[in-house]
Symmetry: C2
Subunit: 337 residues, 2 copies
């Protein structure tokens, strides 16, 4: 089979790789229906994270189960499934607390931008879609593999609930998903911080009540203007740079919370937040915890997170997908074999 391999910064190739097989009795092999490129994949593509050797890449997918190991009981060949970017057994003490991203037996994929994928811990990781989904639902289902759950995680981590005011830093696919999540979780004010007209439009479609195009001090001032002069109850930081974290700290009210899902590059400055009683929580999303509810929202068409895909390419053109996202010509690229 063929799949994407990153050889060096800027060098992603679609090349022949060994067919995945069942290695453990808890494995499944899935034939990919759709995959995509993540903002976090770009860290290596841009040379910010190292690429010590050629590595199969990708961690988002939905597809059809081709085979399962002897111990797998929750899914079977022929099932349409979606799974999170971080395989978890969903039964260990940490998973039982709802923190599946930190599963004691957590595992990883060997490259999901591929025609087939080996899924470790299949019972804990995969969720079966009850009926084969309509084709137009595929993009939204695919977002549940990462970005939609990650945006949701930012909102949950920051304690978004009915009546809260929320500001979202970052207008990539995760930030836009966070806007959608905040609205679904009952926020009354949802401020999308974005300078790009196309992304602003998606944010408004996802339920943003306000768009703030300014950044830095002017951006924080604009957020305060919309929140009784004090800042947002919850700020969702969906970028991962130090600048984004400082922007979040400037936009949150005293006593409020920052939900952090941008993969942090550099330290996390915290000092002054103690005196302001500002909370910080976040990390990799507990996808398996959120999947059932979010899949239900997608299948009933209550949410349409697949709108974040503004470019679709054949999987064989995965290198173009990276380039398009790197050059910000696309928010997020969907790939089909």
């Amino acid at each position: 089979m063929f799949g994407a391999v990153i050889h060096a910064p800027g060098d992603v190739r679609y090349e022949e790789r060994p067919d995945p097989t069942i290695l453990e009795p808890t494995d499944a092999v899935v034939r990919t229906v759709a995959a995509c490129v993540c903002g976090s994949d770009l860290w290596r593509y841009r040379g910010i994270a190292p690429v010590p050797k050629p590595t199969a890449i990708g961690h988002e997918f939905c597809g059809i189960v081709e085979s399962v190991g002897d111990a797998v009981t929750g899914v079977a060949a022929g099932d349409f499934v979606v799974g999170g970017f971080n395989p978890s057994d969903n039964t260990c003490p940490v998973c039982r607390k709802g923190a599946q991203a930190n599963c004691l037996h957590g595992d990883h994929y060997d490259g999901c931008q591929a025609e087939k994928i080996r899924i470790p811990l299949a019972d804990g990781t995969l969720l079966k879609v009850p009926e084969p989904p309509a084709d137009d639902l595929i993009p939204s289902i695919l977002t549940l593999s990462d970005v939609m759950c990650t945006g949701w995680h930012a909102a949950v981590s920051a304690g978004v609930g009915p009546g809260t005011s929320v500001a979202v830093v970052g207008d990539g696919a995760v930030g836009l998903s966070a806007v959608l999540a905040a609205r679904q979780l009952g926020a009354s004010t949802v401020i999308a911080m974005s300078r790009h007209a196309d992304r602003q439009a998606v944010a408004v479609g996802f339920g943003a009540s306000h768009v703030v195009a300014e950044r830095d001090e002017a951006g924080a001032a604009a957020v305060k203007e919309l929140t009784e002069g004090i800042g947002a109850d919850c700020v969702l930081e969906c970028v991962g740079t130090e600048g984004a974290r400082l922007q979040a700290a400037a936009c949150v009210r005293d006593g409020g919370n920052i939900g952090l899902v941008g993969v942090p590059h550099g330290e996390l400055p915290l000092g002054g937040l103690f005196w302001r009683n500002v909370g910080i929580k976040g990390g990799p999303a507990h996808v398996r915890s959120y999947l059932p509810h979010l899949l239900d929202l997608v299948l009933t068409r209550a949410i349409n997170p697949g709108v974040v895909f503004d470019l679709e390419l054949p999987l064989s053109r995965v290198a173009e997908a990276y380039a398009a996202m790197d050059e910000r010509r696309a928010i997020k690229v969907l790939l089909r074999p």
Copy 2:
């Protein structure tokens, strides 16, 4: 009148000071019934925080209102009152969010280890005790001015709720109050980390289900032993040193929360907590938010936080109180004029 003035590290004197008067129409003047020494006062006493000039000291009190300014409507001369260590108007947008420690118009006291105290923002700061309290309730009422509310704040900040497991780092008056708070908030496992038999006894009396005397790695291992091997859902850090913060990080489970109320000295290391999905929240306590509920618990004798006072001295011997706490001969010292 007389009151305590810190002149330099190790040098607290009981000396004549001007009688406080109503300076603003929102002020009250309170005649002190009881005051006390805070662990945070020791930072200056020990020379860790600076003492640039002789300064009236103390921020915990209960007493009887002597006079009020024209704008004060909530309390009147003769009322027995308790107030938090951080005056707040309780009406600004931040206070209305329950974050009174960060009141937009927040103020401070001019030394509460004194016979009389000027209380700014009296309506927002003071809570009237409905009846003059029995003398044996005075210590518990006094704890509401700081330590009991601060322990409560640690628990609230860490999300302690029914069924959670909690570890408390620090066995000073705040740590012990945090044990009591965790139990009141429904925690099913409450682990007090303490090496001192007298403090362990108070912790058990306050509802600790377990005591861990070990520290560092051994302490974290003991906490994990009691929490399915994964660490506590919530860790309450009630010291403020870097060592205490690292201990907290080692004791919390992935996906859990650290409640931080020890006044931080040094930076707050956070880096690795992102990948572990560990939340951090805390700061100065929102006393005015917690006071009504906690006063009710004290007056109905549901809780008895005054047990943390293991030494009582006349206010005139305030210097001895500092020495006793500095030398750890007392957990906390109550002072009466």
